[in-house]
Amino acid sequence: MKPYFHSVTLDREKCKGCTNCIKRCPTEAIRVRDGKAKIIKERCIDCGECIRVCPYHAKKATTDDFDRIFDFKYRIALVAPAMYAQFKDKPDVNAILTGVKALGFDDVFEVARAAELVTAATKELMPADASRPLISSACPAVMRLIRVRFPDLIPNVVPLLAPIELGAWLAKERAIIATGLNPAEIGVFFITPCAAKVTSAYVPIGVESSLVDGCIAMKDMYLRLLPAMKRLTRYENLATAGLEGIAWAKNGGEGSALNSERYIAVDGIWNVIKVLEEVENGKIDDIVFVEASACVGGCVGGPLTVENAFVAKTRIQSVLENTSLAPSPYLWSDEIKNAVKWRKPVEFAPVMTLDGDMVKAMRKLEHLEAIYEQLPRLDCGSCGAPSCHALAEDIVRGFARETDCVFKLRERVKHLAMEMVELEGQGFGQGNKTPKQS
């Protein structure tokens, strides 16, 4: 797989080259160049902020086409609990799961069940008293944020697979036993609420390669599912996940399942950044667990969902009221205990560093600050960079010029015009300096 696959991509046709996305990107990963936005792939964390903010819908999440499921002999749908919040009339989990199956899947697997197991594994890792809290690894956008901006926090991240990846493993194992098929003939498709999870299916965190074979956008699924559910005459009894797992759909669910009062649940990528900064500075020391979701509301607030995040949160609540604290049908076996662990450490991606050599980096920083001093500091974005400081950084890195700044350019033009006037005053251009003809 390509080292920098991203679900979040640009539709060049639709992009007007405005400054909305560059300003909202939490990792300053977008520039406008030649009138079109350009995503810096090393920096993008697939949080989807640009998708939400683009008025022209030029930012999109690449997901798999539904018909790809038919490339596989045996098809499993991994259904995230956020899906249960999308339907107005029927927050009945069995109706949803039966409907999904009716669309062409042989089996469905509730990601909420895997979430319960991740909760159990997290409980075992909880420190009695930590100077710094554990940080959830469930949100892939937050994980990528930590990787590029908070290297110091990597040791604090819960070294466990996200429920989707564990769910894919459990579902595939079950299918191999039940069908006797070759694993390559079994396709596991995740119904995704966000772009970051698609990226994780292609470039996963904590494992070499993901067992998820494809991701279908929740909103695409919704359109197929709604009529399919209406056609159902009876529902299969497929819902087995309990309260704790389903609650993961909204921010606060993962933390509350840990049986500790000392957790915080933060949502929205900018709030997450603030909290992580405080954790990094050692200011949050009375908290043992930080649940962080890039999307406001948690997964129900994902950019690929249908329902408003706040309505969806209430709906999840009503699903929970109709659910018992069902024990997961899985035994907490050693095999699962092993399967849920990261098999590959998460490494710092120093994309914000100016140079690998500190002396060179220092020189660049000095140069950067000197350029910044001369810029207007209006952060207007007209140069295509999100701020004057970002432009100064781009200039130092060799990706931009000072005259990309419209104010600098105007100054320069004025200067040139004055020089021309001066030259004219000296008699240039009036023919009296032409070499004498002999």
């Binding site: 900064e277 100016l354 690998g356 500190m358």
Partner: protein, 146 residues
């Protein structure tokens, strides 16, 4: 160029929420320079403690940071009341902070001891009635990244 970056900050006295601005800004710079994250943490925590001290005891002050490839030197200067007995002030739990300050959760007497444990060198020069200078050094053993 003499391979040094000098940064300076004014610390606004009487503003607790503003304390931490200098250390946050230094953190950003050190990250851009690719300084090891453990070293960044030590510098930032020490600076934050010193900033709080300047706010609590001296009504503000100035911080000067000198970054070189081998070490980070930070100097806090204030025009506060000074420290009568520096050795005593370095003891864990010793504090002259007022009741009001303690009610706000500060003044536990851990500021200077924390700085001492996080830095490689600390030097305090104080003149009662004139002010205090706190200097600290953190060495960069492995200057850059992986």
């Amino acid at each position: 160029m003499d391979n040094k970056i000098i940064l300076s900050y004014e610390i606004d006295g009487g503003n607790f929420s503003g304390a931490g601005e200098a250390s946050s800004s230094v953190k950003k710079v050190l990250k851009q320079l690719g300084v090891d994250s453990d070293i960044i943490r030590r510098v930032v925590i020490s600076m934050y403690e010193a900033e709080i001290n300047a706010v609590i005891h001296a009504g503000g002050g100035r911080a000067e940071v000198e970054i070189s490839p081998d070490k980070i030197y930070v100097k806090f200067t204030d025009d506060g009341p000074g420290i009568a007995d520096v050795q005593q002030a370095m003891r864990e739990g010793f504090s002259t902070a007022s009741q009001k300050i303690r009610e706000m959760g500060f003044g536990a007497g851990m500021g200077l001891p924390n700085i001492k444990s996080y830095t490689d060198e600390i030097r305090i020069t104080s003149d009662v009635g004139k002010g205090t200078v706190v200097e600290m050094v953190v060495y960069l053993q492995e200057p850059v990244q992986k």
